[in-house]
């Protein structure tokens, strides 16, 4: 057996490199010079500079890219609930026609529509400061103002309806305030009573107009817008022409005083009404007279020039409260007595 190792060994021994190639390699080795390499920082200086520029550019531009649109600020939405300047419209709608005395002494002046109704008792908690709201959006029920006053009775069903209307009004107002951001400037009211009325305002123009139409049909003393504009000159006049509701609670009595205490000057001057026997004049302002007695009973008389024809007095009696309404010589009188007899009230009415 021949060994593979021997033949492979001999074969490789026959393979030899040329001497010339060997000398050439040795010479190249001797002449070999180590190439000068640039320092590390020089080699990567360009790359490092580019990286720094990119990072700085990203840091500068990143806030602008991620920045959302800033808030546009507080959106001033105003719920216009009361515009004193628009008192003519208000006055035009305020006067509710009085019920026919013949048919229902306990008639309650009410608006069929769900307009703003004023219940003095409910307005006592109103904030006295007037809120001057910058209008931005007009609600349906805030462009004009209309409300109806009524001489109500607790037992009257229309009172309940009006109470419901009032509650609806309050809910609408609350929703309007919650849904919108309002810029409210509070200015002191010259009259506390006006603040109470402004709380109730909030019906639409249509409702005001319909209420006017309905009131005109039901009462002889319904005011028209034209008459209201002629007669009213200030906010106090507007206050004076409103009817007040009869309420057995003492708070309502006080609120009535507050409401009518600041009745402004109008074309008519204060009416001299003589008090009945046993009573003395405790307050006599333009549009309102108050008789008081030593026994604690009080008689409130509110009057305003309506321009209507004379009417027969209509009486309404509730627990401890007697009210009467009459129109004489174009002036509408509303008499409310607490703790007084019917005869006293009749005497007062006759003295008008």
């Amino acid at each position: 057996m021949t060994l593979f190792r021997n033949y492979y060994h001999k074969a490789n021994d026959d393979i030899k490199a040329d001497e010339e190639f060997k000398n050439r390699v040795i010479d190249s080795v001797h002449n070999y010079k180590t190439p000068k390499r640039k320092p590390v920082y020089k080699r990567y200086a360009v790359n490092a500079a580019a990286a720094v520029i990119l990072v700085s550019a990203a840091a500068v531009c990143l806030p602008f890219l991620n920045n959302d649109e800033p808030d546009s600020g507080i959106i001033e939405t105003v719920n216009e609930t009361c515009v004193p300047e628009s008192t003519p419209d208000i006055i035009a709608n305020t006067a509710t026609p009085q019920s026919v005395p013949q048919s229902t002494p306990n008639a309650v002046q009410s608006n069929d529509n769900e307009t703003a109704t004023s219940d003095i008792k409910d307005n006592t908690d109103y904030n006295n400061s007037q809120q001057k709201i910058i209008p931005e959006e007009k609600k349906e029920n805030t462009s004009t103002h209309s409300y109806n006053y009524y001489s109500s009775s607790e037992n009257n069903s229309s009172v309940k309806a009006e109470d419901e209307n009032l509650s609806v009004m309050e809910e609408n107002e609350e929703k309007a305030v919650d849904n919108k951001n309002e810029v409210i400037e509070q200015t002191p009211l010259p009259m506390k009573a006006f603040a109470q009325f402004s709380n109730v305002l909030g019906s639409s123009e249509n409702k005001a107009e319909s209420s006017m139409e309905n009131n005109a049909e039901n009462s002889n003393t319904a005011l028209t817008a034209k008459v209201a504009e002629e007669s009213v000159k200030s906010e106090s006049d507007y206050m004076a022409k409103a009817d007040i509701s009869c309420d057995a609670s003492t708070d309502s009595k006080m609120s009535e005083e507050q409401m009518y205490s600041a009745a402004g000057g109008s074309a008519e001057s204060s009416v001299d009404i003589s008090p009945p026997d046993g009573y003395y004049t405790s307050s006599n302002t333009e549009g309102a007279v108050t008789f008081s007695s030593d026994s604690g009973s009080e008689i409130y008389i509110d009057y305003y020039y309506s321009g209507e024809d004379d009417t027969e007095p209509s009486y309404y009696e509730n627990e401890g409260c007697i009210s009467a309404q009459v129109t004489k010589n174009g002036t509408s009188y509303s008499v409310t007595a607490y703790g007084a007899d019917t005869e006293i009230v009749e005497e007062v009415v006759s003295n008008l």
């Binding site: 057996m1 021949t2 060994l3 593979f4 190792r5 033949y7 492979y8 060994h9 001999k10 074969a11 490789n12 026959d14 393979i15 030899k16 490199a17 190639f21 060997k22 390699v25 040795i26 190249s28 080795v29 001797h30 070999y32 180590t34």
Partner: protein, 157 residues
């Protein structure tokens, strides 16, 4: 043992490096380039290499690695067959040499180191940085392939 100068070491191991490079690349031109590169690297590292055995192992390892870099080049495909450049005086030598050249590279390397450089299994595994069992398996498979190619009954001892 006297220490040899770098030039003497080059003369001593020049053919060893050239033959191993030729066995790896199967091309004379590439083998010359590999040889030159190996000794250039040696000249740069000559101060770190001290013992003779260390130098030989280092040269073999560098030659194999440098040959691999040549394989990565696309120009390696355009080569002249080794049979046209190398001739032997006997037929057995030619058959044995070119039979080894036909082996795969990893078998060819192990066979060359074992049968020509007379290196042991441990030396080959240390030089190639592979396990001894791997060296044994590659050597066994190489022999098996040579027995198939070489007909005549060679003893692979």
């Amino acid at each position: 043992m006297e220490e040899l100068s770098p030039d003497e070491i080059i003369h001593k191991y020049f053919n060893t490096v050239y033959r191993l490079a030729l066995s790896q690349t199967c091309n004379v031109s590439y083998a010359e380039d590999v040889t030159q590169d190996v000794f250039l690297k040696y000249w740069q590292k000559k101060d770190t290499l001290k013992s003779d055995e260390h130098i030989k192992a280092w040269l073999i390892r560098v030659t194999i690695n440098q040959s691999k870099s040549v394989f990565m080049s696309s120009w390696f495909k355009k080569t002249v067959p080794l049979s046209e450049e190398i001739t032997f005086d006997s037929e057995e030598k030619s058959d044995v040499y070119f039979a080894v050249q036909e082996l795969p590279l990893k078998y060819r390397t192990v066979v060359h180191l074992f049968y020509y450089e007379d290196m042991g299994i441990k030396e080959i595994s240390a030089c190639l940085n592979i396990k001894e069992s791997t060296v044994k398996s590659q050597l066994h498979r190489g022999r098996k392939m040579l027995k198939t190619v070489l007909k005549g009954g060679y003893d692979f001892v």
